[in-house]
């Protein structure tokens, strides 16, 4: 028995999921491979790591201050971890020292496993330093911020990546990155912190761009299929908004009633 008020949510989620899964299937079978436009922010990741390697200075990465099971920003944390994989692989390849600052204990073992695997896959497992490459700072927002800022100053990082769920500490981290002369790539779905990243960082992955960034970077065509699925889902949303507006203009509350059902 569906709960009243969640019927439209269930139906829309089901339709969107089916669209995305259908495109995932088509692309994984190479029956259709969509062309995805180049995203400058995503490609700046390799550029920033390369710059750090040329300067002989470290790369820093923060997967945010939200936990991995946070009700609102778990998606951000998961997206940040997918990007950590990309940054770690690039750093190891280019020979840059990577420092990952962790705030939430639930994120720590996952981040350690990702970075360790990246070092192993590049044949440099001995360069991974337990407790130093991935550093646990503090679950407290400001404790984490002060530790991360201190690390950026001491290590003079040349590239700084700020992804995941950041809150009021976002600007302090990003401005410190600017002060130490780091090239910065950030991303957030927190609409209140996005302006902070936009003004202080070189590149910002806005909202869903951060969530899809790992799929952009992946050579697997199936990952591109799901991005195309996202675009179709957005087109459906636009269609619902337009139809709803027209119906309401002519006095019909049909769409509003459906969405509230």
């Amino acid at each position: 028995m569906l709960i009243a008020g969640k019927v439209s949510w269930t139906l829309i989620t089901l339709v969107f999921s089916l669209v995305m899964l259908a495109l995932l299937y088509l692309t994984s079978r190479k029956m259709y491979v969509p062309q995805i436009r180049e995203h400058p922010g995503v490609h700046a990741i390799a550029e920033a790591v390369g710059r750090a390697a040329e300067m002989g200075r470290p790369v820093s990465f923060s997967p945010g201050t939200s936990s991995i099971y946070d009700a609102k920003y778990a998606g951000d944390t998961a997206a940040a971890l997918t990007l950590l994989n990309a940054v770690a692989r690039e750093s190891v390849k280019s020979g840059s020292k990577l420092i990952v600052g962790i705030s939430q204990p639930t994120v720590l073992p996952v981040a350690q496993a990702i970075v360790k695997t990246a070092y192993s896959l590049e044949g440099k497992a001995d360069e991974y330093v337990e407790g130093d490459t991935v550093r646990f700072y503090s679950p407290d927002q400001w404790g984490f911020a002060s530790s991360y800022v201190g690390m950026m100053y001491r290590e003079r990082v040349a590239a700084n990546f700020l992804f995941g769920g950041h809150a009021a500490e976002a600007l302090i981290l990003a401005e410190t990155g600017t002060t130490v002369g780091a090239m910065q790539v950030s991303g957030s779905t927190n609409v209140y912190q996005l302006p902070m990243f936009l003004v202080a960082c070189d590149y910002t992955l806005i909202g869903e761009d951060q969530l899809a960034a790992a799929a952009y970077l992946s050579p697997d065509p199936a990952q591109k299929g799901i991005i195309f699925g996202q675009d179709i889902a957005k087109l459906i949303c636009v269609a619902l908004i337009v139809i709803g507006s027209v119906l309401l203009t002519f006095g019909s509350k049909l769409m509003a009633q459906f969405l509230a059902s």
């Binding site: 028995m1 569906l2 709960i3 969640k6 969107f16 999921s17 995932l24 936990s67 991995i68 099971y69 998606g75 944390t77 998961a78 997918t82 994989n85 692989r89 962790i102 939430q104 204990p105 720590l108 073992p109 996952v110 496993a113 990702i114 990246a118 337990e130 407790g131 130093d132 991935v134 550093r135 646990f136 679950p139 407290d140 927002q141 400001w142 404790g143 911020a145 002060s146 009021a168 500490e169 600007l171 302090i172 401005e175 779905t189 609409v191 003004v199 202080a200 909202g207 869903e208 969530l211 899809a212 799929a215 199936a222 990952q223 799901i226 699925g229 996202q230 889902a233 957005k234 949303c237």
Partner: protein
């Protein structure tokens, strides 16, 4: 071995995700109890993870003290403070005891507030860089920012009552509509990321790359 681990993790994730999503949409007491149990387990797992965090801190800072690394006294302060907090909590058998609260309200709170206050200076420096009208986009940003400041600062209404209204239009129409469009995209993006993880296209959040 890693392959078996990832397959098992993906299977557990699929089942757990379905239970949580179905519990959100369906009225079923069994599902509700199961979802509550799963949420409680998440809290328990997080508590264990805190232990891993503490171990990581002790490993790093203990090592720095042992080899007298630069700024090692700060590592000593960190570890001593951590143990004082733990011991106070254990001895008083409470995290709401007057002793525990004193440490929190006398040290942690003022330091946190000071750091939060630093945001004002960082906002000023970031705004200065962002609002320099070096391009048409930056000019639009600058003009919008001026009207929004007139909306929020009392001086706007003193100069002219129209100024806060213009700021209000910018905030209510362009700001709110843009934000809502962004939120729709984020919702769809989160669903897509969830599907990528559940179907095993994205294995990184389960603790390791391909």
């Amino acid at each position: 071995m890693a392959g078996i681990w990832r397959t098992t993790a993906s299977a557990v994730l699929l089942v757990v995700s379905l239970v949580i999503m179905l519990d959100f949409a369906l009225r079923n007491p069994t599902l509700q109890n199961l979802a509550t149990d799963l949420n409680n387990w998440a809290v328990v797992v997080a508590a264990f993870a805190l232990g891993i965090g503490a171990y990581s801190l002790i490993l790093r800072h203990g090592g720095m003290i042992a080899r007298k690394a630069p700024m090692w006294p700060y590592s000593t302060i960190l570890l001593v403070t951590m143990f004082v907090f733990i011991v106070t909590g254990l001895v008083t058998n409470s995290i709401t005891s007057p002793q525990y609260n004193w440490i929190y309200s006398s040290i942690v709170m003022p330091v946190s507030s000071s750091l939060y206050g630093m945001n004002a200076f960082f906002i000023a420096s970031a705004s200065y860089r962002a609002f320099r009208a070096k391009s048409w986009e930056a000019l639009v940003l600058l003009v919008a920012a001026i009207f929004l400041m007139f909306k929020n600062a009392p001086i706007g209404a003193v100069i002219s009552p129209i100024l806060p209204d213009i700021g209000g239009v910018i905030w209510d129409f362009t700001g709110a509509t843009g934000m809502r469009a962004l939120l729709i995209g984020i919702g769809i993006g989160t669903l897509a990321l969830g599907l990528r993880v559940i179907v095993g296209q994205e294995k990184t959040p389960l603790g390791g790359a391909e």
